[in-house]
């Protein structure tokens, strides 16, 4: 049983939200009225246009505060819950050693034309992310970081060469859903190159992914914004040592 909620400004139940946007029209009283109209249509009532500023002759920027009467029901929210235990690096190492009796091989990179390695580096580099060390820090993990702009065939080739247990792919900057196209291309290539039981675990991550899309994309797991190296390591160990 969860209770229904409204946004909180400074009083329980006040339903206050803030919104900013641009309208392609010159700044005048009509523009402010138009901004208010948009806010009303979005469910803000009353809507207070607190700031309107012309940006050149043809555009106006608005900040609007107002009340919404919508309720949210947290019990109706669907999320991908963590279905594996979160392990410390020590536990990850011990589990790998016991179950595989060799180091677990992880090959990672950014595919497509994405040159932003910040995501893959946060997970792989020793430096890590959010106070957690990256996978290179784990003694029982062998990490091969291919960096940016890796072609899918090159990724498959390296995965075969390194006998990868898991392949990590990051997509940070994307346009026109390129991250989804790239990921589908990648998962298809791995399915073609490996028999089902020998295929490495496929993990993708990046701020634009929807964590619920793993099946649709043909991968084993999708990680969204804010994922830490420990979560990725725990997931891989859980899946690889369980099989």
């Amino acid at each position: 049983m969860t209770k229904l909620l409204r946004p909180y400004g400074d009083t329980t139940g006040d339903g206050m939200v803030q919104l900013s946007f641009t309208l392609p029209m010159p700044h005048d009283k009509t523009a402010e009225g138009a901004a208010q109209q948009l806010a009303n249509k979005m469910g803000m009532d009353p809507a207070l246009v607190v700031h309107a500023k012309p940006m050149g002759p043809d555009f106006t920027f608005f900040v609007v505060y107002g009340r919404v009467n919508h309720l949210v029901d947290p019990s109706q929210v669907v999320v991908v819950e963590r279905d594996y235990p979160l392990l410390t690096p020590k536990e990850v190492n011990a589990t790998v050693k016991r179950a595989l009796r060799r180091r677990m091989v992880v090959v990672g990179g950014c595919i497509g034309t994405d040159a932003h390695t910040v995501g893959i580096d946060a997970i792989l580099n020793i430096k890590g992310f959010a106070g957690e060390k990256g996978l290179e820090y784990y003694r029982e993990l062998k990490v091969v970081n291919l960096g940016a702009q890796v072609a899918v065939p090159q990724l498959v080739e390296r995965a075969i060469e390194e006998k990868a247990d898991a392949v990590l792919v990051s997509q940070v900057v994307t346009q026109r859903d390129a991250h989804l196209l790239n990921t589908r291309e990648m998962s298809a290539a791995f399915r073609e190159a490996f028999p089902a039981e020998r295929r490495p675990l496929l993990v993708v991550g990046g701020p634009r992914f929807d964590e619920a899309m793993a099946d649709d994309l043909g991968v084993d797991r999708v990680f969204g914004r804010g994922t830490t190296p420990g979560e990725v390591a725990s997931f891989m160990v859980h899946r690889i040592t369980a099989s």
Partner: protein, 540 residues
Amino acid sequence: MVSTGSTTARTRATKVVKKLDLDPATVRKARTLARRVGKPIVDLARQHTTVSVERATLRLAGLSGADAEGTPWVNRLLDATRGDVGLEHGVSLPVWDALLRGEAEDLTTLAQKAAAGSVRFRLPEGRDANRAAAAARKQVGAGLRQVDRGRKERERLITRIGDAPRQPWIYLIVATGDIHEDIPQAQQAAREGADVIAVIRSTGQSLLDYVPEGATREGYAGTYATQENFRLMRAALDESSKELGRYVRLTNYASGLCMPEIAALAGLERLDMMLNDSMYGILFRDINPIRTFVDQRFSRQVHARAGIIINTGEDNYLTTADAVEAAHTVTVSQLLNEYFAKEAGLEDWQLGLGHAFEIDPAVPESFRLELAHAMLARELFPKAPLKWMPPTRHMTGDVFRGYLLDGFFNLAGALTGQGILLVGMMTEAVVTPWLSDRDLALQNVRYVMDAAGGLAEDFRPAPDGLIAERARVVLGEAIDLLERITAEPKGQWPPLFSAIADGTFGLMKRPPEGGRGLDGVARKAGTYLNPATEALDGVS
């Protein structure tokens, strides 16, 4: 040669007052070490040529256009000559020999015939070689004169219309993928206060071994760098410059596999600044180190001739390595970039050496550390218009916090006398900037510059304080690193190659024989001839 520089940069440079009390002997030592590390690389670069250097030469000689599949004629012609006589003699002798033999009346026709396989190229000897060389020098020389005219035209426009009103110059990016969409955006950005417009390239372009042709409307996270796109944008900004009463500069990227060609096109079309880093391609695009250094030298020589200000890419190291731990690698790279630039003939006012505001804001005293790093760069390179890059790595999607961080970035820029300030966007890492993001970002810059633009005059870090001490430590670490590089065992490759292979810069490990584009490199034969490098070497 032409030698009048940017007066703005020069005037400001004289105002730089020493505030960190760096030991001049230590600074000299740093430069000496940088020269020792850089020299073997320059030697290597002089001994080699690349497909792109040769294609750039053809472009300077006036060859442009592409076949029906979009493959440029310079690629067609180069591939054909290379197939017949190899790359090691350069493209000039076989090509102009073929023209003199009457195989075709001009370069385009020759390229078309070569692509169809109806011309055989040979390496001319004796008098034939001399005649071919003379013809090549004449035609390539005409291209270089066009570059010179562009430089004079820029100087004339700046005198007539006026220059950016103050430093730092405000640098804004447009990146729609469509040149016809970029143009109104760039003009609007200039109206809103941008002094420099950068057109971000389509991300994949650095790995293309050809320069696309014509005006382009489809790019990925950016717009293709093409000669026609350069021309269209420069013409549009000339209009804006007249409208606004100040010369608005245009920037693009001389990087990737076609760096020399793009540099040549930038010179021909009067671009004003080019991103041009000695090691960026190696580290972040996995382009072969030899290919990169050969292409680099040529492109810098062209920029020197064209009066283009280069922007180096040290900010990138800090997006992969930690901004505090790796601060000295930025200094080392700046010293190397300075050495390579000067060797190629660039003058101080053309050196937009890069650095960035990338320290984790959770680190105690992070702002003071940023000031220390920025002041160190300012004082090491007092006459260079430094390029100051905004936070990206610690922009989280919390746009409110990001806006504050950008304000501090701007303040650091004002306090440390930066020459070129890339405007930070609070929506970094969220979306490509919206119209309103850019407007808010410019308000942020304007507020800081109006409120504290002159604060540099009053600001003196305490001689034994955290800032001065930190600057000395970073310079010391930079010298240690340069010494370690010079101490690398003498092997087949220059010591800098071993350092790059070890992951010294940006934590990227790049071996000398790895990476893309090595197959486009050749060691010059005794018969090698290139009228462009001849003329450019004469300048430097």
